[in-house]
Symmetry: C2
Subunit: 216 residues, 2 copies
């Protein structure tokens, strides 16, 4: 039995790398591989073996010199750290193209979450369904939150409406935001967790490297 080392805070860059480790380990496990060395894992993931050893050392340093890591154990312990076995209630607000795509394609359950409610202010789509859930009017938000206690809200709305809605959602008990509203949410309350997503930044990074290459 592998145990997590005594609680020491994990640094943000390491946390950001954990989901990727988890993904690769799942894949390796599916291939039927039981043990893997940090060198092999590094090669697959295109990172350095020393980074892997350092990162894993953070949460217990499992892995024996010469034997490598046990893939299943490692995946499970990283999964526990990430909380993949929880089922945090999630609501999604704004079921336009992007909202629908996220509701239908994101495997919430695999990530410790459960999508339980969809909301949109457009009366034309209220009552229709996406991902097996009915789209509810914004007027139902308050009652829904009081009954089902969702903790995370996915915001797929234009940025203009985001600050006001965020206030309302916090009042209704939401403590985590997955924000696609094209503007960083600024929330001063340290108990509220915000994950801002900017796909445009990713495209710009790609464009930067293309630009550099063409200048060489």
């Amino acid at each position: 039995m592998i145990e997590k080392s005594e609680k020491q805070p994990i640094s943000t860059p390491v946390i950001r790398r954990l989901p990727r480790y988890y993904r690769f380990l799942e894949e390796i496990e599916r291939e039927g591989i039981q043990r893997i060395s940090s060198r092999e894992l590094a090669q697959r993931m295109n990172v350095s073996a020393s980074q892997i050893r350092q990162d894993f050392h953070y949460f217990g340093g499992f892995g024996q010199q010469g034997y490598g890591y046990h893939v299943g154990d490692l995946r499970r312990i990283i999964g526990d750290i990430l909380g993949v076995n929880r089922q945090t209630g999630v609501i999604l607000i704004g079921t336009g193209n992007l909202g629908k795509t996220i509701a239908s394609h994101m495997d919430f359950e695999k990530r410790g979450c459960e999508l339980i409610g969809l909301f949109d202010k457009n009366p034309l789509i209220q009552g229709t369904s996406t991902a097996g859930l009915p789209i509810m009017p914004m007027e139902s938000l308050e009652n829904f939150c009081r009954m089902h206690h969702p903790e995370i809200a996915v915001l797929c709305i234009p940025k203009d409406g985001a600050p006001e809605l965020t206030e309302e959602l916090i009042r209704l008990g939401i403590t985590g935001f997955w924000n696609f509203s094209h503007s960083d949410l600024k929330i001063s309350n340290p108990d509220i967790i915000v994950e801002n997503v900017h796909l445009g930044d990713s495209l710009m990074t790609l464009a930067y490297y293309m630009h550099q290459k063409n200048q060489e």
Copy 2:
């Protein structure tokens, strides 16, 4: 006139931060603010002022003690580094929900790119339009690339088909991939640039912080 300092390679973490700087500076410029100190910018962006000074130092160290940065100049120089004034040709493959969302909502032009072609293997949607572009069959891909020389391909296809298609696209002159296919593309050719997007990793990071908070 501000000039970029002598070519020194910019580190990956700094590059990843550039699009975010660019976004905030655009917003600040829109508000009509002409000068900003590293401290004010840091506060808005929720990073440290010393990180900002360090990052900006990388590409020329503009900004005068006591005067702050000229917002417009700074935005322009970061835009130039990112290549936002180029119009790199982009094609998108796989116009399901996700592909359609990206084609319609991603402001390619603002990011130095131009979306010029959409492709899908599903005959039922070929010929229909998204984002003002017709969806073409995969059979037209080769001719299209030979005629229009796109450089970037956005992959919105399931992961099973990605490796084979990638090979084909590289043969047709694509040198950059924005990959949404739920699997990291492994390309050994160092001239090919890949930006893998995993929205699930972002959700997992949020879920991790929620999990930690609930354990406190």
